[in-house]
Point group: C2
Chain length 466, copies 2
Amino acid sequence: MTTRLLTDAPNVVTVGAELFEQALAAQGVDVTPVDWRPPTMDAAVLATLASSGMANANQLAFDRLVAAEPMWVGIDTARDVVGIETGQFLHAGPPLTWERASGPMRGALIGAMLYEGMAATPDEAIAIAERGDIELAPCHSARAVGPMAGVVSPSMPMVRVHNDAFGNDAWCTLNEGLGKVLRYGAYADEVIERLTWMQDVLGPALADAIDHNGPLDLRSLIANALQMGDELHNRNRAATSLFVREFMPALLSTGRPTDQLAEIAAFINGNDHFFLNLVMPAAKAAADPCRDIEGSSMVVAMARNGTDFGIQLSGTGDAWFTAPAEVPDGLFLGDYSAEDANPDIGDSTITETAGVGGFAMAAAPAIVRFIGGEVADALAATQSMYGITIGEHPAFQIPILEFRGTPTGIDAVRIVRTGVVPFVNTGIAGKVAGTGQVGAGLVSPPMEVFVDAVTALADRLEEPSD
Amino acid sequence: MTTRLLTDAPNVVTVGAELFEQALAAQGVDVTPVDWRPPTMDAAVLATLASSGMANANQLAFDRLVAAEPMWVGIDTARDVVGIETGQFLHAGPPLTWERASGPMRGALIGAMLYEGMAATPDEAIAIAERGDIELAPCHSARAVGPMAGVVSPSMPMVRVHNDAFGNDAWCTLNEGLGKVLRYGAYADEVIERLTWMQDVLGPALADAIDHNGPLDLRSLIANALQMGDELHNRNRAATSLFVREFMPALLSTGRPTDQLAEIAAFINGNDHFFLNLVMPAAKAAADPCRDIEGSSMVVAMARNGTDFGIQLSGTGDAWFTAPAEVPDGLFLGDYSAEDANPDIGDSTITETAGVGGFAMAAAPAIVRFIGGEVADALAATQSMYGITIGEHPAFQIPILEFRGTPTGIDAVRIVRTGVVPFVNTGIAGKVAGTGQVGAGLVSPPMEVFVDAVTALADRLEEPSD
């Protein structure tokens, strides 16, 4: 049926210019506003990139990302593998100093000093940090990742994930469970006792079990969990359950006393997020071989330290592009509210970087009961991410989208072109040191980090190469 | 925008009368055919039922069904609880004789005789059966259910489910795993050896673990699995994983040798359908208190014996309404094809009777890779079941349908009014005794069993009550 231009009412679609939309609406005209913003950077810069082989570079980066074969191969002690000694700590996100650290980051560092025996009280730990007697470095700089504060100290057991396709390793601490935990900035006695138990009992038992079991195929486990309602960042219930099911016979084969095995089984069973600390190093192990591809605008790290949000691109080496982290919005636990929330924190955005997490929300409609929103929002979130990614993951499929692969390989250029930023799921830490988790929800990365990164990438390409 | 009746083309919707649709289509008119068939029975019968308090009776039956609190409380030996002695066997579906039994049913009975030591060879077992020296009764008549052939013999360990809301119990055998198994009609040595191991090792260990664990809340577990991609009939991967996760600490607490525990963990882990034999008695325990409500047209049992498909209604006592079972269609294993398929078999349709299984297909889009079809078919299947059910289950919710409750409480009157029959998922047994499973797919119950049941219900209401 055709619209009769002169007799029928006009259908007006307005893009960008809100004044025009408002003027028409005031005259009673039906207006369909489209949420589109003009590109956030100079067209000449984007043209430079487009003419410099960026598409090929991005395809190469994407191909490496999806070819990853992350296997859980063992447990190591941090001091042996990530290059830290007493007084040195890794943390989530881009580089940070004690002075600029937020409450939960300081809380986690205090807890780590207590756990390492560097201090007997929180006040002593604070004094040590204020004297400058600790050294901090990002997990990402040591081929590691950590959820929330992401603090790693030398004695902690770490999951080792090997990428069979490229031969590289990645590390992550073991998940501590819920409630008062170090990663959310808590440092009460129970936190330190649990970390000690993880060091003495859990870590060695898991190491033995992996030896009995052989390497655990994380790519396959993640693919299965996506068919069972997980998005692998804020929802890891299926993945944790599949892991327990597959791993328990191996744990039983270690010959450890059954009461210890029962304690371990109960600990893992009590925490739907146990698998988060396996999917994160799997994603890190997949992303690292995509680094240092000249001209590629693919994001290889996206991480927050509770103060700043930072990204790294494949084509810009080890440079971090940062801006102040936003405060997440979502559902809060108990009596907590948005006022208690710390700005965005954690390396767990490595999941989105590798094509799961917020990018796979459509696979996990039940998650809206945990982070807020409607089921339709979850579907729309994934759909919108296809516009800022390089391709679709061949193994990570979403049944409800007729098994379409998850949107994978975040392209900073597509982000600045479209004005659409990555969709990020996250836990929410209390902003006061020692509080712990206060909720879970969604957060938007600041657009300027993508603009700065793309500008830097273009600048590198304009420099004459030797 | 309005349609101009005289100038624009007509939009024609045709219902029922295909000739009219074809005549218009031949004239180039756009026709939207609607798949509707006239009611399959006399309007006077339906009017009788409508005026006899049927709506209230059905509401009462539905309320009882969804109020069920099925708990796994223990393991019993069949002879102690379902009233069978040597030479007596329970079987799936409506009543059956050896003479009319299909290949897989005969195979399972042969296997059960070998397992019970009644016969040393399959030929001896067949001779015993042909002499009439065995007695058969439906599982449903003994407050039990069994998947596929559903054969229960006196020595088998059985899951006991207690409905806390109404005080009744239901029983089911333990799942044997995949491949050559008794329930699919296989009776090779490995089948009998596994049954013996289940009797000697698995059953007692699970019984101990339940004692240590306390009752296991199956309603909650089913509700969680629906949020994790299971529909609880042909897909029980999430439920089995959640079960292992919750149950393993209890199993470890039994103090049994770890090599035995490892064997049990590996057995359960090797079989995504382990939980089917827990959801089935949970559904049976929920359905039984809905029996014998005068005037109710709600289905309280729907079951197949490999020869006949049968149903029981709440308002028609113990009467079975049967018709020849259809052959399921779906995906076949290995070199098997539709030609190898036996007609529909098993009590597992108790899942659909209780609001899960085929009725919850929308919760399990990944299942189309197992039974065939498209994801849209899975959504449409659940949507169409709302038209033949009394209500929506308050605890069994489907995230992708914005947490709408599953269509629950099959109403035989709505079926005969609409011509829509229940949507049933099923495994497919080989038709030759001893073959085992050949595939999985979908099957339609024969409409006539619902017509006969509704007619019988109306007849009862017309009889003067004393």
